[in-house]
């Protein structure tokens, strides 16, 4: 008898849940899923931003092409923009599938965006693993692009940035949480890929380097590739080596970079960068005998040394630090003012780059 009473009270408690749950949950057909978010500067207006949301429109049959809808609104803050956009659509806006955030070129170049940067992190429904990028000529143009190979709205961008599709050393992709991490961490600066919108395709092969508030420097594709080497993120690439009239291309298989900061007493501090590259000879304009490969390796080493050093100096001149030398310095020094020390050291520090190239294979032909 006793146990039955227990069960009765349990059932009663569970039934009371029904009473409480009034009108909480909305069905999926009453939600409108945002797939990507674009932020531009507003033109001809007193407002600061132009916020565009790209919605996926579900289609009734599989054969229909992918459909989407872009709604834009001018406002000074993200929250206001979203609230106004809510009045323009018939369903509840759902951000849980927003996987790409695009800042317009002009937004990236201007100061004072921390409000919108933090808005994305603060909102509980926007994923931290959304990708962040800069859109050229504007974020809205990037959202409008619809490649023919795309089945789901914005999927081409997801694949390109997520490296699930094409893998290339020219693309540096960046997650939202990592962007925020780099915005706040002293000694490591943010970097965002730049998406160029063309008629029906994207081109993602450059990267914009930020200081803590705005974009300061844009790297060209070759420099982007080298930056990727330095970050140990991508290993497959093609490197060009010229010796006299012969040009060979090395398809790299393995790239590993190590660096160490030396601050000898009484001498100028320097950073030693060690790069080891293993690769396959993929193309050459003339026949290259196997005995001579080591010559080419040496030339390749020299040219890579030069390129890396040039890039590092270029970044240093702009007083940026996307690789995290400053953080490395902070993490190896126990004093509390190591950050101030590093700020003094960094502008004059020397780079000593040493690379080691190994051609392991010449493909099917000798």
């Amino acid at each position: 008898m006793k146990s039955i009473n227990n069960w009765k009270s349990l059932v009663l408690a569970l039934l009371s849940v029904m009473l409480l749950n009034g009108c909480g949950f909305k069905d999926i057909d009453k939600r409108f899923f945002v797939v990507s978010i674009g932020v531009d500067t507003a033109k001809n207006s007193s407002k600061k931003y132009l916020v565009s949301l790209k919605f996926a429109v579900p289609s009734s049959s599989k054969n229909n092409p992918t459909e989407f809808m872009i709604v834009s609104e001018k406002a000074d803050t993200m929250s206001e923009a979203v609230r106004i956009i809510k009045t323009k659509v018939d369903k509840e806006i759902d951000f849980s599938h927003a996987k790409v955030i695009v800042f317009g070129d002009e937004v990236a170049n201007q100061k004072g965006n921390s409000g919108i940067n933090y808005w994305f992190i603060r909102r509980r429904d926007i994923q931290s693993i959304a990708w962040v990028a800069i859109g050229k000529p504007s974020a809205l143009e990037v959202l409008k692009v619809q490649p023919k190979s795309e089945y789901i709205p914005s999927n081409a961008l997801f694949l390109a940035l997520g490296r699930d599709g094409s893998e290339t050393p020219y693309t540096i992709s960046e997650y939202l949480f990592d962007f925020k991490y780099r915005l706040s961490e002293r000694g490591l600066d943010p970097l965002l890929p730049i998406i160029k919108a063309e008629k029906e395709i994207f081109e993602i092969n450059t990267v914009g380097l930020y200081n803590k508030s705005q974009m300061k420097l844009v790297l060209n594709p070759e420099e982007t590739k080298i930056l990727n080497f330095l970050r140990n993120r991508e290993e497959k690439s093609a490197n060009r080596v010229t010796k006299g009239k012969t040009v060979i291309i090395i398809d790299t298989q393995k790239v590993k970079t190590k660096y160490k900061i030396y601050t000898p007493r009484g001498k100028a501090p320097y950073i030693k960068v060690l790069v080891s590259i293993e690769g396959i000879l993929e193309e050459s304009t003339r026949r290259v005998p196997n005995e001579k490969l080591s010559d080419y390796e040496k030339i390749a080493e020299k040219s890579i040394n030069k390129e890396i050093e040039k890039l590092l100096v270029k970044i240093q001149k702009a007083n940026l630090d996307p690789i995290g030398f400053g953080l490395r310095y902070r993490s190896r020094h126990f004093n509390n003012d190591d950050w101030e020390e590093w700020k003094r050291i960094y502008p004059t520090i020397k780079f000593k780059v040493k690379s080691k190239v190994q051609i392991e294979d010449t493909g099917l032909i000798e």
């Binding site: 408690a13 909480g24 949480f177 993490s331």
Partner: protein, 357 residues
Amino acid sequence: MNRYFLYLVLLNMLVNVIIFVPNILIQYRFEGAVMGVLIAIPIGVALNYLLSTTINKFPEQGMPEIIANSKHRWLKIIHFCGIQWIWFTAGLITLVGFIDILDRFINPEMPKMALLVIYLAAIFLIIQLPTDRVMYFLEIVLFLNTPLIAFIIFKAFTNDYLSWDSMLEVGTHIFERPSLKSIAAATYCFSGYTNLIIFNRLIKGRLKIWNFFAVFLLGIFNLFTTFFIPIGFHGSDGAQEFQYPWISTADSLRLAYSPIERVIFLFLMFYMSITLISISVHWHVSFELIKGTFKEKISKKKNLLILIFYAGCSVAGVIFLNTILLNKITVYWMIVRLGFEILLVVIFFIWTRRWTA
């Protein structure tokens, strides 16, 4: 049956993510949290050893049975009524904190009270069970969830975006003067052993030394994970900006080829059951202690009164405590808890020596 002891310790280690331990540690990361953690490890293991070996002299008996024949009945009642508050509030903070997390991340449109009613119904069902059944339930929950949580932790450790430099940067502040708050928070990871004062009913034979060695190793790994992984993902300067560092960290993980890409939902799913059983274990201890204060078997009316009191407290907690306030209270609660814990262990130790002497 030594594994029961480890389950109790492991449960607290897993649930510290919900009860603001990473939050407190990260808050003081430059002001002595690293040293605090290092100091907390010997304290935690020593308290573990002391209480377990003492209570081990009474095999298969909980505290109420051990002190049942004491002449000083009033002293016993005061003692039990005093210490049961620690377990009750531990469960309460976990409950209110997790309801807040569920409301925030899973279903913001559902009223908090509905979530609370579901949880309370399950908890009340469990805490009235006999102690061994609670333990079996705990074993099942840990058996199902621990491997998957270990997998998430493994994914976090092998993630490309985990910055060891940021973690080392916090590590370089090791020589700061340790703060009491961080020591108190870090010792919480070890304090699962206190549940032994009821759960000793199930432990047969002596606890061997390797149990404490396992606690030591698990504790180091657990504290390192709780404290440093969020810093590796969100930075030595940025991690303190997060309300729930570990949940934001779970959101920063991506399983590209799993059915659910976002780890946060898997993480919360596993933690739903872990939190449930953790609250149940704490409240079971508290419930049994209250029962122990009565001489005769507890009547149905009293039983119901206690449950209503529990329910009332949790409803009030959910209504009046918002996240920020709860976080502030928890910081001080941790210190009070540490004090009471040491008091409990020492009193029991002295009492046993006099009793056996």
